[in-house]
Assembly symmetry: C2
Homo-oligomer: 506 residues x 2
């Protein structure tokens, strides 16, 4: 080659090399930026089984069915999540009329078919919104008139004075729970994790959030033999053991219980409050199922009311949601927190913290308003509302009974009564061959069982290990939400599956 | 006293004492549970000036006016927050028809006045919802059809392939920003804070969130002399200086700029991307004002598009919202994130993290759908939509020009042009006597100025110190959202106030 060609070749080679090197560096750089090991490891370890691998597999199976694939079942039954409308529960007409009218008041006002009381409610709510629009931000704590209505609801429920300024509208109850846990978290500055007592089994929002925040979950086991009540000795022991590894600050109680379906007695609540008072623990009361009481001998007592009767003044946060109850408006993300006995300065800091997220959905807030402030008595909307509400509650009550009875009729399955909430959490006795088979697949035995249930029958439930359970025991959580006909079908299939499963691994 | 009386008295006294002691303990215990010093200290130090003391004082003044009190003004003008509808911007008819119809489809279908294209859109969206209800949870990442529509919008905007599975619906853009910052935060496990480069001045969501998460904010100053552009030398220096105190992982860019009202040139974006690539920084692009471009010489370029053109593959998160643009639906809390160049496993963990908060508001998601997917061309709704959109944008453009011009006509105030977004961030020269007066009140001088502006004129703006500024300079942020007539009035009052203020402290 002559020198010119050589020079050119050298240039090309140089260019190629530098391009190649650049690409290589880039590839290394882009793959090394965010890897499974370089992200927040707490997040990596978070678990939320309600939307975990089994529900994800259920989605795949649904897609397969949709695309015409043949499976051993013709529909997936989603009993994994408390998603009422997804299971064809009908919304309350008044709620939807108010929401629809608030979104488009001009249309509503020109529509003679919309009842006067709906129009009045929409007007009242829009008066509280900036520019009379649900498209304006509310205060971080929520629309004032809605906070006032919530206070009025609590006042009537408990017969106690309630200050609307202690009420904060949140994005479902979940956002509220996360905010309050972050608020009390001093792990970083104390050099020792902040501890929060959480029932086992629990709703995994708590474990997931505590993991994300680097806080310590202090497990206390609910007493399965005693309708999942809280046992004070168990609380004492759990707290005592935790003191060497964390600084306990709060206790979470879920009443009515998720996943347990239990309703706490007043006496049990009294003892919990006394225990919290003795041990200087703030109480976080997840009371989102307060309208879901099925056992005629059970009654919902708010922690606030019982605490007041005891004359105890302890910081208490009560959470409520528009997602459960008889309305089941999960997708609207309405919820609230009520703070009791908070120092004013501390409360102001909490509200400041909430201000950076601007506000929760104003339509979600309006859904919450409808829950706490039904249509006025004597109006046609009221009649309809009462009928619709009673119908939903009656049907849920029937299914709560049906599900517990049916499980108890299956050998090897044992369930407490579903006294409240929307779930049963039955115990299953698994044959040792099934446990071995699970271990071979590196799966937890109850996960193995639930996955086989899904693959065989299309029934999607969540293994007990996603909520926590005593070692060596196995459970699953199912909702009571499939409509009656589907539920009968589901229970038949479940029974048959369980018998076959036991035979298979006998 | 005989022995029986004595014994009784002793019992009473004992009882009294124990009651007294109990009360005392309780009082101590309840006041020591959550105090300003025992809560999360990071939260205590969080600041979010957009809803800070000045807006709070504005609310008080509004209440005073409402109750008939005489003040030097008859209305508060809220120019502190980008809350379009609160400033009487009208919503887009099609959006509200769809939202209203989705909330109450039965009513909608029976209403002959609702256009066919609205009904079709509602049907399409409800087909994607569980039980055909906006009251059902969506997947944690959002309703699939809405994610697909967003991907289509991005595809058309940038002329690039877009995978809908990289799109996640969020509660406004704020939730998305917080989630991604938490996701990359390894402060706790590294023992050294994770650093994030943030422009100064910045939108205080970033500083507030980084403070809450214990992360390190690496300030880089925007170049006020150069239309608030990013200066690469400034970025290099800021990054270099930060390396001894944190582990830099990401750079936040807000384009169009909040609070600056700037729009980055393509060249500037290219240089930022190259800088990020060289320094292995993920890019968090806050692009929520992408529809708000006022300067006829400016154009919105997405980071995604420019990055693709450069052939660089770097993790990128782009944020968008239904709250800004021409729709201004802040209260509905609709927003999305698009992830680019994320490792699949990493993305799966991010989605798992989001699953614990269940989902964002389905009606907020529907608002986002309307933004990315306008009514079909050729329908009456399309005509109306185009007109409404153009009218809002035209009026905002006029106000963007008016506000910068007026400020620049006031001696001692200097403003860059409002090329985009919804804000001006003018510089003010404050007399030294005003600075002394502020210091005597232990206030920052620009806070002092803004508070006096509020008390004198009712105009509520946010001091520059809430966003950050070069030491010794003073600014404030005002929105361009007051309607034209109000804005004229506001600018007149502002001018008069400023002249009087300068004279007062001369």
């Amino acid at each position: 080659m002559n020198s010119i060609v050589l020079k050119k070749w050298s240039l090309v080679r140089h260019h190629l090399n530098s391009e190649y090197l650049k690409t290589l560096t880039r590839r290394m750089s882009s793959s090394s930026l965010l890897t499974i090991d370089s992200i927040n490891q707490r997040v990596k370890h978070m678990e939320y089984a309600v939307r975990g691998p089994i529900p994800q597999r259920a989605s795949q199976l649904e897609s397969q069915l949709k695309s015409g694939q043949k499976l051993p079942f013709d529909a997936v039954i989603r009993a994994n999540i408390g998603d009422c409308h997804a299971m064809n529960q009908k919304p309350i007409t008044f709620f939807r009329q108010v929401l629809s009218g608030a979104a488009n008041p001009i249309e509503m006002h020109s529509n003679p078919k919309i009842p006067k009381e709906v129009k009045e409610r929409v007007n009242e709510l829009l008066d509280g919104c900036g520019g009379r629009s649900v498209g304006a931000y509310s205060e971080a704590t929520g629309v004032e008139i809605i906070r006032r209505h919530i206070a009025q609801y609590i006042r009537e429920r408990d017969g106690l004075e309630t200050d609307w300024r202690n009420v904060v509208l949140t994005t479902g109850a979940s956002e509220g729970a996360k905010a309050i846990l972050s608020f009390i978290n001093t792990t970083a500055t104390d050099g020792i994790p902040t501890g929060v007592m959480v029932p086992i089994p629990q709703y995994p929002l708590y474990s997931a959030t505590l993991t994300e925040l680097g806080m310590n979950l202090i497990s206390y086991y609910l007493d399965e033999q005693n309708q999942w009540a809280l046992n004070i000795n168990e609380l004492r022991n759990a707290l005592q053991k935790s003191r060497s590894i964390c600084k306990p600050k709060a206790i979470v109680v879920i009443n009515p219980g998720n996943p347990t379906g239990s309703v706490l007695t007043k006496e049990n609540i009294e003892n919990i409050i006394k225990f919290a008072d003795e041990n200087k623990l703030m109480i976080i009361a997840d009371e989102v199922y307060q309208h879901n009481i099925w056992d005629p001998n059970a009654r919902f007592y708010s922690f606030k009311k019982v605490m007041q009767e005891l004359g105890i003044k302890l910081e208490l946060v009560s959470m409520m949601s528009a997602s459960k109850g008889f309305m089941g408006e999960c997708g609207l993300r309405g919820g609230y927190l009520e703070l009791s006995n908070f120092d004013e300065e501390v409360k102001a800091v909490f509200y400041k913290m909430l201000s950076a997220r601007l506000c929760s959905s104003v339509l979600g807030q309006i859904a919450m308003d409808c829950v706490v402030n039904p249509p006025p008595k004597g109006t046609p909307s009221y009649e309809l509302y009462v009928n619709e509400k009673q119908e939903v509650l009656k049907s849920l009550r029937e299914r709560a009974e049906l599900i517990a009875e049916t499980f108890n009729s299956i050998p090897g399955i044992e369930s407490n009564g579903v006294a409240g909430a929307m779930y049963a959490f039955p115990k299953i006795v698994l044959p040792s061959k099934a446990i071995t088979a699970a271990e071979e697949k590196r799966q937890k035995p109850d996960f193995f069982y639930c996955m086989e249930l899904l693959e065989t029958t299309g029934i999607c439930v969540v293994p007990g290990s996603g909520f926590g359970q005593i070692d060596g025991t196995y459970h699953f959580r199912t909702t009571i939400l499939p409509q009656t006909q589907t539920m009968h079908k589901m229970m038949d299939k479940f029974k048959q599956f369980h018998i076959n499963f036991i035979n298979k691994y006998k």
